[in-house]
Symmetry: C2
Subunit: 482 residues, 2 copies
Amino acid sequence: MFDRDSAPKILSEDNLDAIHEHAMQILEEIGMDVIHEPARDLLAKEGQKIDGERVRFDRGWIAERVAQAPSSFTLRARNPERSVVIGGGTPVLTNVGGPPFCSDLDNGRRSGTIEDHVRLVQLTQAAGALTCVQSGAVEPVELPVETRSLDMDYSVLRWTDKPFTGYGTSGAKSVDAIEMARIACGGTDVVGDDPVTMIIINPNSPLIWDTRMADALMRTAAQNQPTVITPFLLAGATSPVSVAGALAIQVAEALSGVAIAQSVRPGAPCLYGSFFTATDMRTGSPAFGTPESVIGILAGAQVARRYGLPFRGGGGLASANSVDGQAAAETQNMLWATMLAGTDFVLHAAGWLEGGLCASYEKLALDLELLSIFAKLREGIGFSEEEFGFDALAEVGPGGLFLGSPHTMKHFKEWLYMSPLFQTPDFATWESMESLTVADRANVAWKQLLEGYEDPGLDPAIDEELREYMDKRKADPPEPED
Amino acid sequence: MFDRDSAPKILSEDNLDAIHEHAMQILEEIGMDVIHEPARDLLAKEGQKIDGERVRFDRGWIAERVAQAPSSFTLRARNPERSVVIGGGTPVLTNVGGPPFCSDLDNGRRSGTIEDHVRLVQLTQAAGALTCVQSGAVEPVELPVETRSLDMDYSVLRWTDKPFTGYGTSGAKSVDAIEMARIACGGTDVVGDDPVTMIIINPNSPLIWDTRMADALMRTAAQNQPTVITPFLLAGATSPVSVAGALAIQVAEALSGVAIAQSVRPGAPCLYGSFFTATDMRTGSPAFGTPESVIGILAGAQVARRYGLPFRGGGGLASANSVDGQAAAETQNMLWATMLAGTDFVLHAAGWLEGGLCASYEKLALDLELLSIFAKLREGIGFSEEEFGFDALAEVGPGGLFLGSPHTMKHFKEWLYMSPLFQTPDFATWESMESLTVADRANVAWKQLLEGYEDPGLDPAIDEELREYMDKRKADPPEPED
C-alpha cells in the first residue's frame, strides 16, 4: 500500500489518452500567453508558433522535451545524511508554506512574524515525519516584502539541516534561494550543480506564463535546480467546473513548463504538480477535502507517471477555520489520497488551516500525528512466529486474557501504536480532565516538540557567508517585477 | 476504487497461507470451549473431537463446510425496492448499534431511551447514505432488559422500510427478530425462508462459543437467516498483541462458526466479520482509528475473500469523547480502510462515539457527510466532451475566469460537490457567525434530517400482528440465559 505500483487506477488508459489529446489540442489550438520576452524568444528558437504574446505549441516538441526530464533525482541537504530522493518511492513531506497568518490557542490568530517563521521551521526540523523544510512557513509581515524571502530562506538554512524548498516567487528570489542553499551545502566546490533546493512554479491559470514565473522557471532550470510546476486550478474559477476539464489544462500547463525548462537545460529535474480542487460556489473560496480534490490527487499522480515525471500533490489541506472535526475530516481525505497515490513530494503536509491563509501550530501537531499513522501503515505487518504467538495463545487458552501476559508485556511497547494525541479515557475521566479536545492536546504536543528541538549547528564561516549574501542583496533589492 | 478487485493487497499469498495454517493449528491443537450442549452434540455427530467442553476441529471438515456458504445473498426489506445484496459489490451501511448512552449538543450525554431509539431509527430511514437499519441504535435503559429487544426491533420495523439487522444477543432474541421481520415482510407466505434480518454473532474471544451465542448461531442458521460471525479481538487483551496473532484467532473462530452454521443448515448465509483493533495500554480500552485497526480491516477483507465469504468490517468507529478532530480523524481512518477494502456490510457506519458507548446525534450527521463524499467518489469521473469543456476554455481564453461563465452556470450544481457541513467562509465572516465548529453545524444538520423524515407507513394488520407478537413474548419473557 502507499506506493506507485499499488496506487488506485481511477483513470483508464482511454481516460489518460483523452486527457492527453485534449491537453495537446489546448496547446496547439488555443495556446498560452507567455508574458516574458526571453521565454518567447526561446520558444521561437524551438520552433513554436508565436503570435504577439500568444504561443501555440507543437505536440511532438512537447513530447520530445518532456522525455528529457529525469523520473527521479536526489535533493541534497546541507547535512548529507538527510538528503532525499524525489521519485524514489518514499514521499518527501514538508511543512505548510505561504500563509500570511498564524495561530495557536494561547495567542490566537495574528499576522506572521519572523519569530513565528523560525519557530515553525524549528518544529519542522524536530518533526520526524517531515523530511524537507519549506521556506515561507508563514509570512513575516513586519519585514519589507522585497527582501523578506532572504530572511525566511536564511532561517531554514540556519535552524535546520534537512533539505530545503526555497521561496521562489520570482526569478531573482529563486536565484537567491539557490545561491544560499549552495553556500549552506559548502559551496559549488562541494555540490557542483546538484539539486540543493526546489522552486515552486505556478503558471497563472488558465494558460498564462507571466513574467515572474517564466523567469523563475528559466533561471531555476538553468542552474539544474528542480522546478515543481504546479497549475493552481479551481474547478469553476480558473478551470471548467469539472475534473476532466481541469486535468486537460493541468497537463497543458505543466508540460509546457517542463518543455521550457528542458529547452533551457536538458535533464534539469521537473516535477509534475497538481493543486486542484473545487470552488465553493457559496463563497468563491477553494474547498479542500472534497471529492474533487481526492480525485484530483489520484488522477494527477497517474497522469504524472504517464509522462515519467515525479509527482507533487496533496498535503494536509483543509478549508476549516479551526482545528475541529471539519479540519481533521478534510485533511484526512487529502492525506489518504496523497498517500494512496504514492505521491513523491508533498508540500503543506502539516500546519495548513483556513484554505492556506493560516499556519496553525495545533494543526501542525495534529497533522504530524496523522502522518505518523501513515508511516506506521507503510511499515506493514510482521508475520514472524513470535508475532503469531501460538504458544502464548496455547498458554492463556480459551477465555484467557492477554492483558498482562508475558507475551504482551514483552512486545506491546514495540508492536502497538499508542498515540500521544488520540486518547481513550472513559467519559467520566475525560470530563474530570476538563473535557480536552484534540486541539487542546495538540497545544501541549507542539510545545513539547519545540522543547525537544535541537539546533543542528552551522559552521560559523558558512553562517557568515550566508549573512553577507543577505546583506548584499538587501542593500540592492530586486525590482518588484524581477 | 472502493471495490473488491481494486482493494489493496496488504497480505501476500504467503501471508494468507501462514494465517490459514496458524488458524488450523489453533483449531486442531488448542480447540475451542463450546459451552452449549446442542452445539457439542452436533459437532460430535460431525466427527469433531470432544473432550469435556473442549472441541478440537478437523481442518478438512472446516474447509468442506465453509465451502457450502454462499458468497452473496439478498437481504429482503419490507419494502422490496429497498432490498439489498450483501456481497454484491456495494457496501451496505447501517447506523450505530449497542451504546447505552446517547448525546446531542442540546441535551448533553444521557442514558438511552426508547424515544431516542425511535429517533435514531427515523434518522437512519431518512439518511440516504444508510441502506440498512440496525436495531439497538441505543439501549432504552428504562425498559426491562429481558424484553426491550422487542421494542427496539419493533421500532425499526414500524418506522423504517429499509432492510433490518436484528437485535440478537441470544437465541431467543434472534428468533424474535426473525419472526417479527417475517411478519413485517408479509409473512412466510410471501418471503418463505428468504433472509429478512441479519444476526451479529460474537464468539467469546479467545476461543469460546458460549451458550447464548452458540444458541443464536444455530437457531438463526436453522431458519436460513444470515449470521454475521464477528470475533471481537483486541490486540493485547483478547488476542496476542500483534496483527498476525489476532488474524489467526479471527480465522479460527469465524470459520468454526461458519462450519457450525453450515452443519445446521447447508447454504445458510454467513458473513466473515472482523472487529479488531489495539488495546490502549494506558486505559485498557479499545483504540479505534489506529494503524492496527486500518490493517485489520484491509487484511480481514482479504481473508474473507480467500474463503469466499462476504465481509463485514470497519465502520465509523472512534474512541474520542466529543465530536472533535480526534473523532473525525479516527473515523476517517476507519472509513477509508472500510471503503478501500470493498467491505460488503458495514455496521456502525454512522453515529458511533466513545468507543461505542455513546450514540451521538452530531457524530451521526458528521458521518453521513463523510459517507456522502465516499458515495460521490464511488461514482467516479465523467469524461464527456462537455466535461472537458474545450469550447468554454477557448471562449474564456488565457487568463479568463470560469466563475460566472455560461459553462460553469450550466453545470456547477450537478458537477460540484458542495458540503452542507464543511463550509469555507473567510475567518472574519466565520468569527462573526459565532465561530461555529462542524459539531455545531452537525447539530443543525441532524435536526433538518429528522424534520425531513417521512413515515413509510405500515399496513395496520401487520402492525397489529407485530404488536400481538410483542405482547405475547412480553407476557412470557425468555430466561436470562435463553
